[in-house]
Every structure is written in C-alpha cells, then in structure tokens.
Symmetry: C2
Subunit: 350 residues, 2 copies
DNA sequence: CAAGGTCATGTTAGCGCTATCGTCAGCGCT
DNA sequence: AGCGCTGACGATAGCGCTAACATGACCTTG
C-alpha cells in the first residue's frame, strides 16, 4: 500500500488550539494584520477611524500579543537579563527595585537569575539568559570567568556591571570600590584609636566582592601597621545570618583575644554580633568594637549604633538602568563608568 | 560572511548582522539543521558519531540557541512569570529563592514583575507577562481584579496562587490563611491575659493580605470581647520600615493610651517598635506589649524576643514550584490546594 | 490636468526554530 | 525474495510577528 494518495495535500497542521493571533484580530476588524501591528506599535501612523475599529477588535478578542514572535521578527526582546548572587540578601532586593522602577516604565521586563555565589552557575545562567536575546544585561560584580566574558562580548548585548569597580569593564559600569570602601573603614578605625583589628567575612570562591573588601583591609593594615600580621577570619562556612554573626563574635574572640575591633565584611554579621554581645553582656565598644559594611536600616537603629559603610543600594539599580537604557538606544554614554562612592558612618559600635 | 549570494535577485534583507544560527552550526558540522536541533533537544535520537561532530560545531561556533524562536515553534517557553507585590520586603525574597531553586534545575527561568501593591499595575503587568507565553504563573495573593482573572483563565496557563487562602482559587493554591493566623495570634494574646489590643497595619488598597489579617483580628475581637469596639490603626501612610514601626509605637500609644498590646500586621513594624521602645525606655511588655507577623530572624534575636506568627516563607516557594511543575507537565495534582499553615511563636514581647 | 508628493494601508518575505512527515539503509523473519 | 520494522537523518511547512517594499487614493502645484 503505497502512499501515493497525497494528491489533495492536507496541509501540515500544528498541534494545539493556540491563542488569539494578530490575524484573528485583523479579520475581526476587517483590516490587514499589518495594520493591527501598526496600531500596537505606531498608532500615529494609522487613521483614527481604523485605529478605533482595531482597538475594539483587540479588546473584544482578548488579544495578547505574542512577544516571542515579535522578538523574533524585530530582533528586540524588551528583556533585561539580571544576574545577582542571591535573592535573600536584602541589599540586592533594593538594587533590583531601583532597576525595575526605571526599566518598567520603558516597557522592559526583568529576566532574573541568581548564581548563589557560584562561578559555574553563573556561566550556565548567562548562557541560558542569552538564549532569550535580552536587550540588556545587568551584572552584579566585575569579575567573571573567561567564558562569561567571551559569551557576553560575542553577543554584543549592552552590559552594565555593578556593585564593584574595575579598570577594565566589559561595557558600562555603575558601582563603587569595595576595596577603597574597606580601606577607608579601616583607616577610620585606625584614626579612632583601634590597634588590633580582625577582618571577618565569607571568602567564598564566588564572592568576589568580599575578596575585594579583604584586599582593602589588607592594604590598610599594611599601610597603618607596617609589618604587622593581619588578622583574618574566613567565615565561608557560616550562613549569611544574624545568628551566625553572633557565633562569629565568640569564635573570633577566642581565636584572637587580643583583637580590639571586629571588622565585618557585611552588616548582617556585624548586627548579629551586636545582638549577641548585648545578650551575653559583652560591652561594645569597650570590650570589643564592631564595624560593618552595608548600612542596613537596622544598623542605624540598633544600640549601640553600628559603625559601617553606607552603599548606594537603590541608586546603583536606578543608575544602571539609565545607563542600559542609553546603551540600548544605541547611544554611547559620555561617561560609561560611574563611581557612586560610599560613606563611612561612624556610630557608637566603634 | 554572507550566507547566500543573491547576485541577481537582491532578496529582501533583514537589518542587522545576527548571531550564529542553527543553520550555521549545521553547515559547519555538515548535517541538516534538524539534526542539530535534535542534538540539543533529544540527543539520544542521534548517533554518537554525529552527535559528537555537532557538539564540536556548536562549541566552535559559540552557538547560543534563540529561545524566542524555539518558543514560537514549540509553543513552550520555559518561563515562569512571577508576580510579587514588592522586592524590598525580604519575605518574598525567600519565597523567590525557594521557587527558583526548584524551577532552575528543570530549565525554567523566572520572569519577574512587581506590583508595588497596586491593582492597576498588577493588571498591566500580567498582560505584559502573558505576552511572553509563560508556561506557568506564580502569583502572590488570591484576590485579583476581574480583568486579571479573565486574562489568566483565558490564557490557560497553569497558575499557582500563594501567600493567602481562598475557597475559589484560579487553579492551584499553596498558602495559608492570613485571617486564621491573625485570629490565632489574637486568641493567644487573649489567653495570655491581654485585654485591650490595637491592630496596626498598612491597609493599603492593594495589600489584600493585610486586609485579611485585619479581618482575622476583627473576628477574634468580636469573639473574645463581644460588643467591644475594636481598635485599629491604618498605617498606610507609613513606609514599611523599622523606623516607621518606632513612630507608630508613639502615635498609636497617644491615640489609644489604654491599649495594652500592639498587634502589628508585620514584623518590620513590630521590631521597629521594640527598638524604639528600648531607646525611649518604654518597658515591653509591662508598659505595652507587642506582637508581630512573619517571624523574621531579627524577631527571634531581638530583646525582648518578638511574639509573632511564623510563616512558611521558603517552603511556599518550593511547594508552589513543585505544584507548577506538575501542572506544566499536564498532570492534574491530586491535592491542588495546599495549606502550609503557620505557627504562633510566643516570646517575651507579649 | 498631468506630474509629483503624501498618507493610509496592503503584500511579501522572512526572523530561527521545531513538528511532522518522508526517505532510505539495514535487519530479522517467514 | 518479500515483508514489515526500526533507527538515523533530511525536507518541508509552519509558529506569530514585523521590516521592507508596493499600491492606490487623495492632494498639491505649476
């Protein structure tokens, strides 16, 4: 039985009943698909009468444009891919809010991915995000694997790196120097009379910003106490929680009893240490001083107030968004690298 | 690198130099595009020898599949649209982490939108998210405008509603009852001997969960103190910050001096009130007791510890993800409505 | 009043991929 | 030898949309 009977070619049909399409709306309105498309994208190029007809048809049909198809045809996705290390750390939430608040009014959507401070995951993540052909790329950090650099460069997508500083950004950069900030913090502590600091932070493989803070600490120690052996405690094994900060207070004090100020790489730990100190009757700053990094709201309200570094959490997101918007319009920003700086906040804890 | 030389027929050309395509890889590997596509999707259906050739070509060409095209052709997007009220509130961050941690390994990406507790924005947001033809929809809350209900229903996308409870979910539901939780809280306070509670929360138009908590409060007051006029303070005008919690402590105490326990609708305010009380020498719980809602980490470590309601923050995200995965596979979960419950945490503040 | 311009709309040809079906070699079995 | 089957791969026809060009009605203008 040969299959020669295909004379009356039944056309190949795709499977499911799909949603309402442009074509459906066009037929309903009695115009061409192109006109419907124009009503959606460039309403001014359609006569008021036709436009109204089409808009009614769109509403009646409950039409929702298929953005994948639009993306494919127009080569623009209106998506900004967003890479952050962690969702839980509230600092990034604020940055995301800033980012989204500027991008959303322009019709951009955020495609979110988090790396959990893992370089390998970052690579996979970026590959899969690139698959959506985003119009822009928001990155946390400036240190990326060669593969990541290659992919991003090859893709030609506008990129903004944030939350750090580098002299060789991929494209644009909106951040501050973690190293300088920590250097300034330690200098401030030195000036305040502290003599035996100990750095406490998560020196995770993938957490490059902590590493930079350590670099700043080491440089400051070398400058202010030449020849001294810098005290450093790697808290990689500790989760990023207040409670862990409390445990770190004890552990580090046991390890370095001579230490007079704990220089935490994040306010989370520092605040946790303050809470634990209060609980256990350890006097801060008299018995041991504490400094943080990030200036959370709690750091300002807790007693003693936490001496820390204020960072431009929200501003980073907003500025990065503006930078991306300019780049996505094809402009070459005059100053593609913006240093938003930081501020030392001296409070009672040190 | 021209693909085809249309010397005579200058064919219509699309604008830009686009990225590497399947076809490019196919030519490089000396196979058809279909085979490359198979290597990507169903490697088992390709002979090992061919597969290896193609994989090499993919790597050499730096090919990144265009997921918009894939989406269009296959009618599956591997995107889960995620609607949350706010990014800043850290509770949702934890839920997002849970959601993402289950979905990412299955190849799904999160398309993120936040409504800022605004019903109108929710509507626009959902429309634009639907445009990407997501495979699943994650919603915070169970109370939506008719337009939202219509759109989601018409789209046929699997939906999971969370962070609340309803008897008429759109599709699946993973949450707990805010009303019951607050009812239980107030009952517990009643049992502890408190007699003149005052509810303090943001009764924003778009913040339906706060409203439900108020409902639970009102019902509890009616049950435990029949005939009594319930004390309620609407903190809509206050930002969701610790500092605002401190101000609320003063404002509400002035307004209701007889009140013996402040029943906050969120731990943010409650913790802020505890910090302010300590600062101003107001004794908690002797002068005024305080309860919260959410059980943040701080609530456990602050002194006095905050009496509050623990919620399944992370679990909600994970369970919701599992629910969606099942629905996206076309299964009809046996129990499409999961109540994850809550727990009253009694601590020193009340 | 014909040549040229403008405006609103339609027609055509893809964008890069996958679903579907077709083909063809190789196999075991009667 | 002939049959049906399987496995590996290719050819074709879209998915729903937009860019680029085409058309045709209606104005100007000299």
């Amino acid at each position: 039985m040969s299959r020669q009977d295909g004379a009356m070619t039944s056309p190949r049909r795709r499977s499911a009943t799909r949603s309402v399409t442009l074509q459906d709306v066009a037929e309903l309105a009695g115009v061409s698909a192109q006109t419907v498309s124009r009503v959606l994208r460039v309403p001014d190029e359609v006569s008021p009468h036709t436009r109204e007809k089409v808009e009614t048809a769109i509403r009646d049909a409950g039409y929702v444009p298929n953005l994948s198809a639009r993306n494919l045809a127009s080569n623009r996705s209106k998506i900004v891919a967003t890479v952050i290390p962690s969702l839980s750390a509230s600092i990034f939430s604020e940055t995301l809010t800033g980012l989204s608040s500027v991008l959303a009014p322009e019709g951009y959507q955020l495609l979110l991915g988090y790396t959990d401070y893992d370089d390998k995951r970052e690579e996979e993540l970026i590959r899969s995000l690139l698959g959506r052909r985003p119009d822009g790329f928001f990155m946390t950090g400036t240190l990326h694997s060669p593969a990541v650099v290659r992919m991003l460069t090859a893709s030609g997508v506008p990129v903004v790196e944030t939350w750090d500083w580098t002299d060789t950004p991929l494209d644009t950069l909106v951040g501050f120097s973690n190293e300088e900030a920590m250097y300034a913090m330690v200098s401030s502590l030195h000036e305040a009379g502290y003599r035996r600091p100990c750095f406490v932070g998560r020196l995770h493989k993938g957490d490059h910003r902590s590493r930079r803070r350590l670099d700043g600490y080491l440089r400051a120690v070398a400058d202010h106490w030449p020849g001294a052996e810098p005290r450093v405690f790697d808290a990689s094994e500790y989760p990023l929680t207040l409670e862990a900060g409390g445990r770190l207070l004890e552990v580090v004090r046991r390890l370095h009893p001579e230490c007079d100020v704990l220089v935490f790489a994040t306010d989370v730990f520092a605040n946790g240490a303050l809470l634990a100190a209060a609980e256990r009757g350890i006097a801060v700053p008299d018995e041991i001083a504490v400094s943080g990094f990030g200036d959370f709201e709690l750091s300002r309200l807790i007693r003693p107030g936490l001496t820390t570094v204020a960072l431009p959490n929200t501003t980073i997101g907003q500025e990065a968004a503006r930078m991306l918007l300019r780049r996505m319009r094809g402009e070459k920003p005059a100053r593609p690298h913006v240093d938003l700086g930081f501020e030392i906040r001296r409070r009672a804890s040190a």
